[in-house]
């Protein structure tokens, strides 16, 4: 066994433990869950650019892990990306491609293009064969014009005028299919995106809390964090809570000193 452990990890996934995990699962061990974002994410193209939207609930199974998380990720000053699926995967893959785009901007001396981000994302996801569970709505405006794409965990992409992803995608798409038309104004675009996200928030249990919106046009990007807050807490007890000592029953007490007490006596300073 001496030489086997010495090589440093080359990066990427190691599938060494898969057989052990399968054996344990057969014995009845419950595997730890991943935090998925549940999620409703949308994007649409309007007359001056693109509008992206997302809800803000992150779930761990049936429990809400984060009531106000950020699902619209920065890729470049003119490109943003909404992420659904496993939260760690969407965060990691968008951060990684964002860094790659910045290096590319330094190398080329030009503003990033949406198709560049698209190609970097799709080739990364394809090479991981769907194990990186990130479903993305990528949107931005570059020299070639406004662009909107969806990216699936296995690496396929679509180019669309309006798109929805996540567990609330059907609720949101029903709104888009009813009300979308070409050449929307900025206000109409923001309103339609908010309506679609609200449909996801109220009709899908995996989505909830607030609406985040991002408007990208030529030369300007506005990130409207918490554009709508349609879910305030319904009841706050006026009585309040006090957690006094003794409220929780103490059955027994045992105090163990960690270190024996040290006596400090006045003594001369050490000689240099």
């Amino acid at each position: 066994m001496a030489g086997a452990m010495d090589l440093p990890a080359k990066g990427g996934f190691s599938f060494d433990l898969c057989r052990r995990n399968a054996m344990l699962a057969e014995k009845g061990l419950k595997m730890p869950g991943f935090r998925k974002t549940g999620t409703t994410i949308v994007g649409l193209v309007f007359q001056d650019g693109v509008v992206l939207g997302a809800d803000t609930r992150a779930t761990e199974g049936p429990i809400v892990a984060d009531k106000n998380c950020e699902k619209i990720h920065f890729m470049a000053p003119n490109i943003y990306c909404c992420g659904a699926g496993t939260a760690a995967d969407t965060e990691a893959v968008t951060d990684m491609v964002s860094s790659q785009l910045q290096l590319h901007r330094y190398a080329t001396g030009r503003e990033s293009r949406v198709v560049t981000a698209l190609t970097l994302l799709k080739s990364h996801l394809f090479s991981y064969q769907g194990h990186v569970s990130a479903a993305l709505v990528l949107g931005g405006v570059d020299v070639t014009g406004p662009h909107l794409h969806t990216v699936y965990p296995h690496g396929s992409t679509d180019t669309l005028p309006f798109a929805t992803m996540g567990s609330g995608s059907l609720a949101a798409m029903s709104v888009f299919e009813s009300k979308y038309k070409e050449g929307l104004t900025r206000e109409e675009g923001i309103q339609l995106v908010s309506d679609a996200i609200c449909a996801g928030i109220f009709n899908d249990l995996g989505s909830g809390s607030n609406v985040d919106v991002c408007v990208i046009t030529k030369g300007k990007t506005e990130y409207l964090r918490n554009h709508q807050l349609p879910n305030p807490r319904t009841y706050v007890s006026s009585k309040g809570y006090s957690f006094t000592k003794g409220q929780t029953e103490v059955l027994s007490t045992k105090i163990t000193q960690l270190k024996p007490k040290v006596e400090v006596t006045e003594s001369d300073a050490m000689e240099e």
């Binding site: 909830g208 009841y235 929780t248």
Partner: protein, 221 residues
């Protein structure tokens, strides 16, 4: 579980709570019915009044719950005809336990909380598992939000530790309005973190004057 072709149950979600007071009992449940990630209705009652001083709240599979409530109501009516009086809450508690255990090998997928006044007029709460194991307690929570609510009730209702001897009475010293306030707050908190709990809260209060019903709005997301 769902890989087998014979899984006949589904969980429609929701949470039920009951708190017993010195001369009242509060039984509350949310009104959301869901399946998977979808909402079926925002306005479905999980509470059934079985007798004038006895109220049952159940969460779980609504198909089984409807059948269970119907079964118990029918038995209570028969009891009325045979004994010329309504069933007391402790009597109904035993009947519910027997009804659940009767289907020990094809259970009712129902998580029940029975609340009401006992024969002396004191509040009582009975809590059950799916096959009929039951216990009289001072308060209980069942359903998808129960793990979020129970620790708060344990802390606030000054429940004596079950390890202490002699065994102490579990009835809470809170007044009726304080108990209702606690129930509202605890449901609002559970709604924040449990996706299956929300929409509306139905609160039923039983005291010697009779039964009172109240509704408050919860988060709808």
């Amino acid at each position: 579980m769902s890989r087998r072709g014979d899984w006949v149950y589904e969980n429609n979600g929701g949470t039920c709570v009951a708190i017993a007071g010195a001369d009242y009992c509060v039984v509350a449940a949310d009104t959301r019915l869901s399946v998977g990630y979808s909402i079926l209705t925002r306005d479905h009652s999980k509470i059934c009044e079985l007798a004038d001083k006895c109220v049952l709240a159940s969460s779980g599979f609504q198909g089984d719950i409807k059948a269970l409530h119907k079964n118990l109501s029918a038995r209570e009516l028969l009891y009325q005809h045979q004994h010329n009086k309504r069933m007391s809450c402790p009597a109904m508690a035993q009947l519910l336990s027997n009804t659940l255990y009767y289907k020990r090998f094809f259970p009712y997928y129902a998580f029940n909380v029975l609340g009401g006044l006992d024969s002396e007029g004191k509040g009582c709460v009975f809590t059950y598992d799916a096959v009929g194991s039951y216990e009289r307690t001072g308060f209980s929570a069942q359903g998808t939000g129960s793990t979020l609510i129970m620790p708060v009730l344990d802390n606030q209702l000054k429940s004596p530790s079950p390890l202490l001897l002699p065994a102490r009475d579990a009835v809470t010293p809170l007044s009726e309005s304080e108990a209702v306030d606690l129930v509202k707050d605890v449901f609002a908190s559970a709604t924040e973190r449990d996706i299956y709990t929300g929409d509306k809260l139905e609160i039923v209060v039983i005291n010697k004057a009779g039964t009172k019903r109240e509704y408050i709005d919860l988060r709808k997301d």
